[in-house]
């Protein structure tokens, strides 16, 4: 009897143990499976906790290449104001990079404790990030990672680490240094101008992909016996010339295009139209583009609709608006010229039109069929010029014609949520770097508390004292009432 009972116990016990082990094993295997197909929801404001699409695209390119990349971040100086935030921001970024990439190995190093690592890498400053890929190496300094912005009480720290890391990845993967030349000498927009009408911000955005924006002045080109677009040009930008470009210079530009060059031409309603556009079958009709759908409160800022094109694909997916201002209509020849394929990139809604003056209503233009052009009006076209056109002798020349130069300027680049991405993606497409086309984002703001000693005292009593005291009082009253029964 006792034997049977012991046997039964053993059977039930071993069965129970077996099932329990199985359950634990299933839970572990389940974790491995879930870990392989992770889904993440970012609840932070502006989805700032996860990596930006642009970074993810670059990491995917690194993964595809499979060459190991090491990112070593060194801590900030202890005791210094904001060192905690700086370290944490860096750690968070590294965690996300580590999660998103198979080939990138990350390490966060305490600069004070692990001096040997710092010495080995030749790092002498706090908050430095070293990115290595094979023999290539890029160092990112504290000033590139963090920036103070705003004035007075609004002054705060911004973390630019992701942008800096993006840049480093681009530098490490770029085949050679790429230069985007912008034509000057005819009143064009200037890459060295930091004012609202300048291109300094565009230069910074292009630097993100390791493109360098430089001026090209055919008249003052003294280092070459015959003026021409330099050999290292990845693209040439002609942004709103104020006076006509001499035919000799246009020939130089055509010569560059004929070698499979990339060209972006931006004009405004009043600016002279380069005759090269006529050769490409593009016309800039008189008037300006208007639409009933406007960027409030500006009557001259129609909201562009993205057409199906690689430049606008991701912008369209993310519903990011590119802000344009005072736009000239752009019309590609219909049917297109032989050997030229044109695609509309930006267009107005069906309620848009080409305004040629006439009556105004509340300061806004009105569509008058007798004088205005019917919409939708095109604001930008992309052209692919093949050898059949007779304009290109090798490869395919790419041209982007935009009816607005402001879209590239400092003024609109930071104002429009999609402007920076539009500008960078335009150059990526022109250069044939389509794999990098994505959406780029801004800096991450540090959410900080400016506390006085008095505030600290108030917080201490509110946080530590109030809650526990109330609960204790409640507990005592419950205890007392039960004792009284």
């Amino acid at each position: 009897m006792a034997m049977n009972q012991a046997r039964r116990r053993f059977a039930a016990g071993s069965n129970s143990l077996f099932v329990s082990v199985i359950v634990v094993a299933v839970a572990c295997v389940g974790y491995l499976l879930v870990d392989l197909h992770r889904v993440r929801i970012d609840l932070s404001a502006d989805q700032g906790a996860a990596l930006l699409p642009d970074t993810l695209t670059k990491l995917a390119l690194l993964d595809r290449d499979a060459t190991p990349v090491t990112v070593t971040a060194f801590s900030g100086q202890r005791g210094k104001q904001e060192s905690y935030y700086k370290d944490r921001a860096l750690r968070d970024l590294l965690d996300e990079v580590d999660f998103a990439s198979q080939v990138v190995t990350v390490a966060f190093v305490d600069f004070d404790k692990e001096r040997l690592t710092a010495e080995k890498l030749g790092v002498t400053d706090y908050s430095t990030v070293v990115v290595q890929r094979g023999a290539a190496r890029v160092d990112i300094k504290d000033r590139e990672l963090f920036k103070r912005v705003g004035k007075g009480e609004e002054r705060h720290l911004e973390f630019l680490g992701e942008k800096a890391l993006d840049r480093a990845f681009a530098q490490l993967t770029a085949d050679n240094h790429r230069v985007v030349y912008t034509l000057v000498g005819h009143g064009e927009l200037d890459p060295e101008n930091h004012d609202l009408g300048g291109l300094s911000e565009a230069a910074a955005v292009l630097q993100q992909d390791d493109y360098k924006l430089e001026r090209l002045d055919f008249v003052r080109q003294r280092d070459m016996p015959v003026p021409r677009v330099p050999d290292d040009a990845a693209a040439l930008a002609i942004l709103r010339p104020k006076v006509p470009i001499p035919s000799l210079e246009e020939d130089l530009i055509l010569a560059y295009l004929s070698g499979g060059g990339a060209l972006v031409i931006a004009v405004d309603p009043e600016s002279p139209v380069p005759s090269i556009l006529g050769r490409l079958g593009v016309v800039i009709p008189s008037g300006r583009v208007l639409d009933k759908i406007l960027v409030f409160p500006y009557p001259d800022r129609p909201v562009p609709r993205y057409k199906s094109h690689p430049i606008t694909r991701d912008l369209s997916d993310d519903s990011l608006v590119t802000v344009v201002s005072g736009v000239a209509p752009v019309q590609a020849a219909v049917p297109p010229l032989e050997g030229i394929r044109s695609t509309i990139v930006l267009e107005t809604s069906r309620d848009g039109w080409i305004d040629r003056g006439g009556a105004l209503k509340n300061g806004q233009g009105l569509y008058e069929p007798e004088i205005d052009g019917q919409g939708p009006a095109t604001m930008a076209v992309a052209l692919e010029v093949s050898r059949d056109s007779g304009l290109v002798r090798k490869g395919i020349g790419r041209v982007l014609v935009v009816g607005d130069s402001d879209v590239f300027t400092n003024g609109l680049l930071s104002e429009g949520p999609g402007n920076a991405s539009f500008v960078l993606n335009s150059f990526r497409w022109l250069i044939g770097d389509e794999a990098r086309i994505s959406v780029i984002g801004g800096a991450k703001k540090a959410r900080r508390l400016a506390l006085t000693a008095e505030d600290g005292d108030q917080i201490r009593w509110l946080a530590i004292g109030l809650g526990p005291l109330l609960v204790l009082l409640l507990g005592v009253s419950v205890w007392a009432s039960r004792r009284g029964r």
Binding site: G13, R448, I459, A463, G467, P468, V471, G475
Partner: protein, 236 residues
Amino acid sequence: MNSVTTIWKKELRIYAVNPTAYAFLAVFLFLAGLFFYLGVTLTGEASLRVLSSNLAIAELFILPMLTMRHFAEERRQGTLEMLLTAPISPFSLVIGKWLASVTLCGLMFVGTGVLPIILAYYGDPDWGVVFSTYVGLLLVAGAFCAAGLFTSTLLDDQLAAGLLGILVLLPFWLISRAEALVGDDLALKLQPFGVLNHLEAFGRGIIDSADVYYFTAMTFTFLFLTYRSLESRRWR
């Protein structure tokens, strides 16, 4: 379902009239307030991140003590046999008691609601991150309560059950800090088992399916072990 609700209500009533529950609640709120105060004054950040990781460690010590009485006390008083022979399945019993503990944890977190309000008064917190931090803490609480219930079924002595609960959970915390104890390679392999490693993303506003699964699986496993432990009384 009805029996689960009945057990849940009964357990909540016991908590409501039990001064010990208030004492634990007060200790929990004191610690939460302390971590919050230290966090905001030392880091100057309008976030609950410092609070989150420290509070999870506090939960590790407090929750087994809160759940220790569930089965150990029933056993000591001899009411467990009655419960097990009543027309209530052991499953309902386990779920009901677990839900009651998690509800109490939820009330504890409601009590810490003053902390984000303080943040909003003095700064500009990211409400999405605040929400995800609480989601993470609640998932941790669910898993720790399940572990506490399990150890409560193993021993007759309440305090011993509570201490055993802490001992069971302690490795999950220590693994999160494994790099300080073992080599980097081993620490990397152990990383998926650490509680704090899985809580970290919640503090940044990210809800990761792997983290949610980890806590859910931990909860389910301990609840299953509790169920098996209770059921074993039938053949032991």
